[in-house]
Symmetry: C2
Subunit: 154 residues, 2 copies
Amino acid sequence: MSIETDIKQTAFRNPYHRLLVNIMFTSNWIGDGQMQILKPHGVTLQQYNVLRILRGQYPNPVKVSDITERMLDKMSNASRLVDKLLLKQLAERTECPSDRRAVDVVITQKGLDLLKMLDDCQSGWEDGLKERLSEEEAVTISLLLDKLRKGCDL
Amino acid sequence: MSIETDIKQTAFRNPYHRLLVNIMFTSNWIGDGQMQILKPHGVTLQQYNVLRILRGQYPNPVKVSDITERMLDKMSNASRLVDKLLLKQLAERTECPSDRRAVDVVITQKGLDLLKMLDDCQSGWEDGLKERLSEEEAVTISLLLDKLRKGCDL
DNA sequence: TTACATTAAATGTAACAACAGTTAATCAAA
DNA sequence: TTTGATTAACTGTTGTTACATTTAATGTAA
């Protein structure tokens, strides 16, 4: 379905305008899809992202400031996000020995187990994409999006 | 700059995974850019979108339910968004004569003037894109994104 | 060592969003 | 016409997010 039909708007100013709207719409569409997967397991998209960052460094700890840096949408609340993970016992927090201002965060076994399960759900969802888009097409879009953002340091 | 550098992650599971992250990251990047433009003028991205929907039908009124349908991210708060526009006198609200449950919303002259100015700012921002991406490339991405979402009725 | 600037994390706040539930108008069937 | 279902908008609640500020630890220069 074309983006015009999706959002019931017939006229875009130009191909660039159409592209911008299309990217944001598609992003929301993806986010919604992911959210449907995550919600039954009691984690939000943001918490899921943090968990994956933690797993990426496991078994090494990750500082809160590192998490903030790596989050897709830069936001100031990595602290509170980690709080939520602690409550669910998906992560642990310890004072960093080399810098007592910093806090080391590590994913727990429970967190790793949850991620494993979520990854499977996620893969199932991604399989739907593979029927509609070839691997080459996926690469093409990624390259073009990189080009779109070129020279913009985050 | 490639998406790997942007988010400091070296490994994606596959091109599809990379694409999903890239789309969401790029969407945030665009949203941030737009927000920077809008903030000095006291409107949020959502309010700006509503204003453009209203202008699209001007001088005809738009019902709150129509606004909800056309919003990029379907959300239940079109009511409260319209409230904000009323406070700033960017829109007016009248009871729909043919259905007293419904509410007709119309953009004001002040709203049209503001949109005009914002469009100019926006165009300036879009010009940056034109230097990095050809029109054909913009069209290509849009078509591929449509294909990605194909068969998904919002 | 003291003073000052910088950094990391946490917190207070106000605005915003998601979701459920309410109210009121309309429609449709008995 | 009355009853019940549906629809449109609004509201209440809860959790999030952005932004600014605070607290504490570290680095640096006098």
